[in-house]
């Protein structure tokens, strides 16, 4: 199987990517390519240009700060999988990473690319919604930040407008006793989720739940936050 013909542009900065995307609305970002390549081969999409951001320097960071975690646009799933600090702070993140596709896919596929692709059965959105993460978007007018639950608007559809590209994902950190987990039901190893649920809990000193945040994927046209989970 061969993809259709397309042009290829390798950029060295996200600003350059924005310029190309702004000048041609059928151009598409190439990050990990692990969803993009199958779609090209199946001729589900016919981009004019692929804008390869893989050589853009300094986009592969997982920056752990006191009040937030910043994840660069080129961070691969595997980097999240093996990050010891994330296993301690938010186990839901590496737990999600290890359940995506297979090792080869995780070596190339990116968190930002997964969000931009917006497959309704993708794993990351459930976890990022539960962790109240947001997407930082670079576009022609500058930078804006959108919560993950608002970023994805439908199957394979996001709020990304012409010329816009994800620059990083921002995950807030909370003080106190914070627990998180991601659980996925799949038909076979490495498959898309039949349903995936992520939960973050903040516990008070007596162990009672102070705050609960839930994200669900593959249970509707887009991932969502159940706003009124029933109390038991």
């Amino acid at each position: 199987m061969y993809p259709p013909k397309f042009g290829y542009v390798r950029v060295t900065s996200l600003e350059e990517a924005v310029k190309v995307l702004e000048s041609d609305e059928n151009a598409k970002i190439l990050a990990g390519g692990q969803s993009l390549m199958p779609m090209l081969k199946l001729r589900l999409i016919r981009p004019s240009y692929l804008v390869d951001i893989n050589r853009v320097p300094n986009l592969s960071y997982i920056s752990i700060e006191s009040d937030r975690i910043r994840i660069g646009a080129l961070v691969r799933h595997h980097q999240v999988e093996v990050n010891r600090d994330l296993w301690k702070i938010y186990p839901a993140l590496p737990e999600t990473a290890v359940q995506i596709g297979d090792p080869q896919v995780r070596n190339l596929g990116t968190m930002a690319g997964s969000l931009a692709h917006a497959d309704p059965a993708a794993d990351w959105p459930a976890t990022l919604i539960a962790l109240r993460a947001s997407v930082k978007i670079l576009g022609p007018p500058g930078v804006r930040e959108v919560p993950v639950e608002d970023f994805i608007t439908g199957p394979f559809t996001t709020v990304l407008g012409r010329g816009e590209v994800i620059s990083e994902i921002v995950i807030p950190r909370f003080s106190g006793n914070v627990k998180s987990s991601y659980v996925k039901l799949e038909r076979k190893a490495g498959d898309f989720a039949v349903v995936g649920v992520a939960v973050m809990l903040r516990l008070s000193q007596d162990g009672s739940v102070e705050d609960a945040s839930i994200g669900v994927t593959a249970a509707g046209p887009k991932p969502f936050r159940p706003v009124r989970p029933r109390r038991h």
Binding site: Y8, R10, L30, Q34, M37, N54, V98, P103, Q104, G190
Partner: protein, 139 residues
């Protein structure tokens, strides 16, 4: 795609086209130190990259310990998936030189064997772990 460039332009025919849709792992190669499915990477993306295929494993006419282990444990039937399995094993053991059986199974979950020779493949990876350890202590 990179797989076509490796096979048709460079003649590295150990890199097999299996499913061509990113499911089977027969085209697995090591690109800049990590395993990738070369049917899911554009050849142009690999410009300047270091690529290791099965052809690069044997040194001075001597099989790599992983290759020896696959041979000794008869970890193949038709052999079509074998180069991909060996390259993924190469990466798995470079990341985790002492994997549990569970970790081996998870580590090879991106490679399919339609002869269903998985049991011997797992045994071969365990033997490769031993062989690589012995080699390390000898050095």
């Amino acid at each position: 795609m990179l797989v076509h460039f490796l096979r048709e332009d460079l003649g590295l025919t150990s890199v097999h086209v299996g499913c061509d849709t990113g499911h089977c792992g027969a085209c697995t190669v090591i690109m800049n130190g990590v395993s990738v499915k070369s049917c899911q990477v554009l050849a142009v993306q690999a410009d300047g990259a270091e690529i290791l295929t099965l052809e690069g494993l044997a040194k001075d006419g001597k099989l790599h310990p992983i290759q020896e282990a696959f041979w000794e444990k008869h970890a193949l039937q038709c052999g079509y998936c074998t180069p991909g399995f060996i390259m993924e094993t190469y990466w798995l053991l470079s990341e985790n030189p002492n994997p549990t059986e569970e970790e081996i199974r998870r580590g090879l979950s991106g490679n399919l064997c339609r002869c269903t020779g998985y049991q011997n493949i797992i045994e071969a990876v365990k033997l490769a772990v031993q062989k690589l350890k012995e080699l390390k202590t000898m050095q």
